[in-house]
Symmetry: C2
Subunit: 329 residues, 2 copies
């Protein structure tokens, strides 16, 4: 049951440990016949280098941590962002020969665990996802001295990738204005997220000066919170004729409340979302939304991290987005 070691392979091949190591690591300074000998021994013995021993001496782990700041509730289980981001990041990282260690950082407790883990040298770098504005984690990790990047801007000075949230919200609001909508409400995301703040800013700034007033309800990016916020909004202003939701999930919740309240979409109320998740195609009616491909962002974030790990540049990137007009508004 004992796995074979380098020494065992060396003995079998009749060469030194050094030579085996060289062959295994693909170094070129090895004579063809020795290489052949070693490769055969490796095959026969089913040798696989021991990770711990290798990491110990190289001081690399060939792994990166993907740290996802869990939403406070932690009960939102089918979260399309999560799947898209984790999947894309995994694929990209695996393609670079690195492993993905997934960590959920919800509580203070788990944040400490993350710091410990990273300090222990398990990983060469960290990709942070979806952090709150005041999250202490990015700064703490950056202080450890190893590469940290984040998907979504953070307060700390960590290189990041994000889409143009202000611009996207502006696109949405302007689209509603152009249709001649008069009372345009918004369902904002949680305000401790910079992305939420930016989207709200885009909405507000666009409305300002058109004589219209802002009508705002706050959600937490879940469907259910969107439904509740919409009910709130209808109560506040029964004759509103448009809603911009800060993400698609909340827009979907809003659609449901509107349907139950007997409002027709888009005839009575226009609805615009944000993100363009796949489900936006399948609502009734299909959702007009601001496209911001999470998968692409995740890939860009990984590339940023890889660039840093390889000694290249580490410049934050802001990605463009566009309005996808469907039938909801």
């Amino acid at each position: 049951m004992q796995r074979p070691t380098l020494a065992a392979v060396a003995a079998r091949a009749g060469v030194s440990k050094s030579s085996v190591s060289r062959v295994v690591n693909g170094e070129t300074t090895v004579a063809p016949e020795i290489r052949e000998l070693v490769q055969r021994a490796v095959r026969e013995l089913g040798y696989v280098p021991n990770a711990a021993a290798r990491n110990l001496v190289t001081r690399r782990a060939d792994a990166v941590a993907v740290v996802v700041s869990d939403p406070p509730k932690g009960l939102v289980d089918d979260d399309p962002m999560f799947a898209a981001v984790v999947r894309a990041a995994s694929r990209e990282l695996e393609a670079s020969g690195r492993q993905v260690v997934l960590m959920l950082a919800g509580s203070d407790d788990s944040r400490r665990r993350v710091e410990q883990y990273v300090s222990a040298g398990y990983v060469d770098g960290v990709m942070l996802v979806s952090l709150h504005g005041a999250d202490p984690l990015p700064a703490a990790l950056a202080r450890l001295g190893l590469p940290v990047v984040s998907l979504g801007r953070s307060a700390a000075s960590v290189p990041y990738v994000e889409i143009d949230n202000v611009g996207g919200a502006t696109l949405a609001a302007r689209h509603l204005l152009d249709q001649g909508r008069q009372r345009i409400a918004t369902i904002s995301g949680p305000l401790d997220l910079l992305a939420s703040q930016d989207r709200l800013t885009g909405y507000r700034d666009t409305l300002r000066g058109t004589g219209r007033r802002s009508i705002v309800a706050i959600g937490d990016f879940t469907r259910i919170s969107g439904a509740e916020a919409m009910a709130q909004l209808l109560e506040d202003d029964p004759v509103l004729d448009a809603v911009f939701a800060a993400n698609d999930l909340m827009a979907i919740g809003a659609l449901r409340t509107l349907r139950e309240a007997g409002r027709r979409v888009p005839d009575d109320v226009a609805v615009v979302g944000f993100d363009d998740i796949e489900a936006a195609l399948y609502t009734a009616p299909p959702l007009t939304t601001v496209r911001s491909p999470m998968g692409d962002q995740a890939v860009a974030t990984v590339r940023l991290l890889l660039s840093w790990l390889e000694g290249g540049p580490r410049d934050s990137v802001v990605m463009p987005n566009e309005l996808v007009v469907r039938e909801s508004g």
Copy 2:
């Protein structure tokens, strides 16, 4: 930038490395004053044990791999199952003090990578998710001799957790029969998945002997495939009056096709899904479906693995499910 080592802590505290090791690992045979001394030194130096060195000698990694067999296309990014399972498993594993290494196993290539990785001793056990019936991976991993469990039954003799797929499909089909539906179709999942086979079996067996014939289209568990399969079905049998989709995503796709084809749900056609993902609540009309909580299954699977890792029993478990009747059928 060099992190402090055990020896540094020992020197600082004026004790031996052994004592420091004992304190750090929480052994009880340490005098209180020495413990205090060591703990202070650890704090002052910010000492964190090096993972690789520890793993090397203990031959444990305190980590488990979560291997997700990607759907062939690999482009389905907002997959609620994925998020629910990965989240729940992560939470449970982290609670047990173990790390989660996420691996996507789509291609043959990546399967080799997984085997390599596991052989390298990076992890103490493996949790497999959503494998095809003929997947060579479970058997290969089991052969390595370390604990492997799977979420979803597999052909290999690996302990598993799954819901009662045959029973769930039976529930759905019987529900449609009880409404007096006459032409009941099904949209099956890919047939290389045992879960798909079982659901199809439940449907077929329930219809058999009622004088009704099976009407089957095959999808791949994505929304789009559900939409396409529904179109196919309508072509095959324009007067069908019920559809059982093998998962909610495909049911959602089917709903869309039905809407576009001018069929009313449930008046003209009843639709029943499977899984009860959150989105099922937000379709128009809300989806009747078979509840099979993925999060709970994931947790059960992790518990099974943990039990095994700790030398306990490793018995497969089949979880019950129930029909959730909403408005679609």
